[in-house]
Structures are given as C-alpha cells and as structure tokens.
Amino acid sequence: MDEDKELIEQTLKGEREAFEMIIRKYQQPLLNYIGRMVGERQLALDFTQEVFIKTYSSLHSYKPQYKFRAWLFKIASNFIIDYWRKKKIDAFSIDQYQGRDYDRPSLQIPDYEPSLVRKLEISQLRERIERALEKIPAYLRELFVWRHINEFSYEEIAEIKGLPVGTIKNRVFQAKELIRHVLEGKE
C-alpha cells in the first residue's frame, strides 16, 4: 500500500508514468468489480475508464491515512450508485439495506441439506455462480465480489462502506447463503 502512496505523490508532482502504473495495477480488479455490478462488458469498460478519470481529478483530496485501494473502490461504488439512481435501474439500492426473508438465512445447519454443488463439475459450478450472482440484491453482490473475487479483507470492505466489520461479515455470509439457495433453486 505504501507503493500506492508513493505513486500518488509522484502523480501529484506531475509524473504521468506514476498514474499509468496505478491504472496498470487496478484496471483488472476494478473491471471485475464493475463488470459484476453492471453485467455488460462495454459498459463496465467505459465505467472503469470514468472511475480512473474521476480518481485522477480527485487525487488532491486523497488523505494518505486511508488505504488507496479502499478509496478507489469507494469512488467506483459511488459511481455505480449514481448511475443506478439516474437510470432508476435497480430497485435494490446498493447502499440501503432492505430487509427480506432471505436476508436473514438460518444460522443452524438443517438436518437434511441437499447437495447440489458436489454433483457439479467446478466449471459448471462457476457458470451457475455467475448467473446466481446476477439474481442476488446489488448490496450483497457488491460485498461478495469484493470479498471473493477482489479478495479484500473484511476490514477493508468495512472501510470502503463505512460500516462495522461484524455487519460486513454478516452480509457476506448472507450473500453466500443466498447464492447457495439460488443454486438449489430456492429463489
């Protein structure tokens, strides 16, 4: 992370190559996050580009006490929220928790649990997870992507969302169980 701060300092001094290195480092994680949120490759590429432009123009307001990666993904998350608000695409707001029955999956292991995941090949399972991801609410999908695709720590996700670590852990758990339910055809 110190490397990021150094690159930002160099960028602010006018070294273009430093910002190019930031893009090189974060282009794929950002595209994978935005892609899973909007579901369309070209739109995801356009948004990733916009997020980098927005990040560059806001660099002067970056505070080094925060992790750059968390700051960058917060910009991306806000960008997607703004887009959805303007387009009124998704009823499930990414930043507002909307309670539903499946938001509180059972914590107890049931006596009988059908096993779908063990019957599938790993490649088939990946395909099904991708499709299931599209069906779960955006505010849960976002956390799942950060945790299991971008491989962020729970603490980092909590920093991005400004929520307690416990809440984040609970919501990521909800996302995973919801995906399992979708795979089993319960949702």
């Binding site: 794929q28 914590l107 292991i109 299991h148 695709i149 399992r180």
Partner: protein, 192 residues
C-alpha cells in the same frame, strides 16, 4: 461443543478464527458428520467462487485512459515537422512521377517559372493601381476638408456671435437626439 453455525463454517473456511478456536472446531468436525458435510458443501462453493473467470481489459485500455486524462497538445514544433514531412512527400512524389513517366522535367520547370513570373508581374501591377487609387482618395478628402473649413470661416464673418452660439446649440441638440433615437432602435432590435 455443540454443532457449528453456518456463519462459523464460512469464517472457519476463510481462516478468520484464532488457532485455539480452530482447534475446537476441528475436534467437533471429527465427530459430527452433519457439520462435516455442511462444511464440505461450502468449501466447494467457496473454491468455485474464488476461481471465477476474471475479466480482462483490452491491450490499449491504459493508453485510452491516459489519452482521456492527458490529451495531447499540438506544439509549434510538431506542426513544423508535419508541414516539412508533407512538403517533402509532395516533392518526392512529384520527382518519382517524372522519373517513372519519363517526361521532361526541365521543360516543366521552365514553364512553371514563367507562370510564377507572370503572377508576380500581375500582382505588382495590381498593387501600383491600388496605390494610385488610394492617393486619389486622399486628395479628395483633403479638398473636401479644405472646403468645409473655408465655408465655416466665411460663416463666422457673416453671422453674429449670438446666432453662431444658437446654431452650435441646435446642432448639438439635434446630434444628441439622433444618437438617442439610434440607440433605442438598436436596443429594441437586441431584445427582439
């Protein structure tokens, strides 16, 4: 230890527990088939989730973003280079054409220089005529000004000072009202 909760299973798989907590969980798993099956189910799910196909950016993505952030400015130097390259290309194409077609280049160059001389001669004639016209215009303006000044001098000898003041005042009022009228007309035009 009682059976594990599902959220505990996930946290165990993600290595979020301390070594002592892990030990307790492992002891329970060794003796509980239900928890073991539930854990295996979620282990597979997590493995698949963490190995989803990653989206790749196109090879020129960085260049595109950089071009948006830092648009290239055309400098005087680059303009000069472009012009020089363009001019040299035309000359080279011209020479290549004559070399390949076998036409007489010297003959064409002589004709070209004659045409250029004609052009220079015609432009010179045009400038001389324009100069004469300008001189004539200046003479007319000088004559007209002299006539006006002489006329005004004669008027001052004929008219009494009071009438002169009256005439000047009337002229000023007339000019002011004309200016005011014109201003209103233009302003109305702007609004429309």
């Amino acid at each position: 230890m009682t059976c594990l909760r599902i959220d505990q299973i996930y946290l165990y798989l993600e290595k979020e527990f301390s070594p002592s907590e892990n030990k307790k969980i492992e002891e329970h798993l060794a003796s509980c088939l239900k928890c073991k099956n539930a854990l295996e189910e979620r282990r597979i799910l997590l493995q698949a989730s963490e190995s989803l196909t990653l989206w790749e950016t196109p090879p020129d993505f960085i260049r595109q973003v950089m071009a948006q952030i830092f648009p290239e400015k055309v400098t005087a130097k680059s303009w000069f280079i472009t012009m020089a390259v363009g001019f040299s290309s035309i000359i080279l194409m011209f020479l290549a054409f004559f070399l390949l077609s076998g036409q007489n280049l010297a003959h064409l160059l002589i004709n070209l220089s004659f045409s250029l001389l004609d052009l220079v001669r015609n432009i010179s004639i045009l400038f001389v005529k324009l100069f004469k016209l300008a001189t004539l215009l200046v003479k007319i303006i000088v004559q007209f000004s002299r006539f006006l000044i002489e006329g005004f001098a004669r008027l001052t000898t004929i008219l009494s000072p009071e009438i002169q003041i009256l005439l000047i005042t009337l002229t000023l009022i007339l000019s002011a009202s004309l200016l005011y009228g014109m201003r209103r007309k233009f302003m109305t035009g702007e609004k429309a």
